[in-house]
Amino acid sequence: MSHIELVLWAGLAIGLIFGACGQATGFCLHRGLVQRWSARGGYKLQSFALALAVALLGTQLLAVMGLVDLSKSLYLMPGYSWLLLPVGGLLFGYGMGMANGCGARALVLLGSGNLRSLVVLLCLGIAAYMTLTGVLGPLRLKLSELTTVNPALLSVPDGWPRFLATVVAAGVLLLFALRRTSGDSDPSGVASTTSRRADLVGGVIIGLLVVAGWFATGWIGNDDFDPLPVISLTFVAPIGDVIQYAMLATGMSLRFGIAVVAGVIVGSLVLSLLRREYRLQGFETPQQMLRYIVGGSFMGVGGALALGCSIGQGLTGLSTLSFSSMLSALAIVLGARLAWKQYHSHNAHHAA
């Protein structure tokens, strides 16, 4: 089996586990942010923090052992746009709020029969490629050229600074993740249907999958003659890739991202069938459908500009300690906050 085939199988396996885990635990950054901002109980944000801590430790370990050359990855490219990254992040975060979850969450939901997610995913994938290589492509390139910076420092410097940054960041994240909050005694029981333990285990698994992705593309996929792009979990371009591959398979080769996305859908489907949680769901009103369409499209455009999504930048990008990823991730959270004010904070007030 060639190294390319091995990487594709690894991607499928990673996707299957991600889908199953996402379906079983409901892993979702957006849910975690809403839980926090609406002061509901629940451990989704802790779960995400744990995933980030595990991803950070594992990824830096791979790098320091020389197994994966992270400098070849998207997040450590010599130049990036100081404008498009934050603007994209804001757009993505806002779209995520409108669509009630990011692309990864939509894939998991699709596996359990949620047709709203199908609409979100189609809009996300098409909008992403419209921005990358489509009608918005020339505008994106023009703006990118005008606002590119080539900073001397792309990430925390190697050696002691990186070691310290990794340990301190992971430590802070772990402290936050493992702390029991007062939301533990949640009288209404509405806040979370999964136990704290399930959330934490889910976070660890997702974090390990990020590390597995780096290992697959960066070590297994490393070949002198035909190296594969060094990537890990991300759910913007790969969703567009799946749509393209479905249409162009006779003239397009499979990629790691496509294998992962396919795996997520199948993994979630299998688990939801096993747990009898499969249920066809659609939109309740046309207004809701429009909101999800716009949300998905915002995520596609924003994710393409920000070079990633809540998982792509929030976990994978941040695991490289890249400064541009920190910029994107922060913008994503800000965008989500703006959407929360618009769409989700009303509920919290109503519930109270």
Binding site: P78, S144, D224, A237
Partner: protein, 270 residues
């Protein structure tokens, strides 16, 4: 029969005729390209016509594989496989819309019974890539493949390090079976400067490319290639060869400045 039924019958006849007409036109449109002949772009390129010359043209026997959509025009993978009754002696690749339409010219020795090679090329824009192969019995086999080149998804200029240039890498099988084809992978690190691109400082460095690649077995030429600037940076060539004798495979890359690099691999028949 009441009026509504009469009208609906009338409608269905009208629409059925229209439907048949549309499908007829539709099917004709789908079939038309194949009627017009699968390869027709090469006739519009003078270099391709010159290569074919007076030879009888075959449009089957050469399988040219390229991605339908290439997001990175600076490195587009190209594969070519031959399935012709007569051995191929010479293969030429063209990218008609490139500033230099010639991509590469390959000449094959008797150890290469059928062509099965892979490389990476540069495409400046969407176009149809052309391959012209000459067989031992004097025929020309032509293949074409359209490629759509989009803007690059990620703008990441490759930093070229002069000290890392001209480093050759070769992978050959550990043991060979006499007369059986096996894969040889070769690559040399070289920026293949086109002479058309501006570098970071705003100047345009002059053309500087690997011009020739030669593979010989015990001094006899196995594969000789002439590269042009339409070949991608870090020229990569994977090809199949079936050696008949043991000995040494010697590889040589020659830059247009005269600089050259050599690499040798033993051939052990197992």
């Amino acid at each position: 029969m009441n009026r509504l039924a009469y009208q609906s019958n009338f409608h269905s006849i009208r629409t059925r005729r229209q439907f048949l007409a549309f499908t007829g036109i539709g099917m004709a449109a789908l079939l038309a390209p194949s009627f017009a002949g699968a390869t027709s772009v090469w006739r519009q390129l003078a270099a391709a016509r010159n290569s074919v010359g007076d030879a009888a043209v075959l449009e089957e026997g050469l399988q040219l594989t390229l991605p339908l959509v290439a997001e990175d025009g600076s490195s587009v993978p190209l594969s070519i496989k031959s399935n012709t009754p007569s051995r191929i002696t010479r293969l030429e690749l063209f990218a008609p819309a490139n500033p230099t339409p010639e991509v590469a010219v390959f000449e094959f020795g008797p150890e290469i019974q059928s062509v099965n090679l892979t490389t990476r090329i540069r495409l400046s824009e969407s176009q149809t890539v052309i391959a012209v192969a000459h067989t031992e019995d004097g025929k020309a086999v032509v293949a074409e493949r359209p490629v759509r080149v989009t803007v690059s998804g990620c703008v990441a200029p490759a930093k070229s390090d002069p000290s890392a240039e001209m480093k050759a890498r070769v992978r050959t099988p550990k043991s060979w079976a006499a007369g059986t084809s096996a894969e040889v992978l070769t690559m040399i690190s070289h920026p293949m400067v086109t002479g058309l691109a501006e570098d970071a400082s705003g100047s345009t460095p002059p053309t500087r490319i690997i011009e020739k690649f030669e593979a010989t077995l015990n001094g006899q030429p196995v594969l000789q290639a002439r590269y042009f600037r339409s070949l991608a940076a870090n020229p990569y060539l994977k090809f199949e060869v079936a050696p008949r004798h043991e000995g040494e495979l010697q590889f040589r890359w020659i830059e247009d400045t005269g600089r050259s690099v050599e690499h040798t691999e033993p051939v052990v028949l197992g």
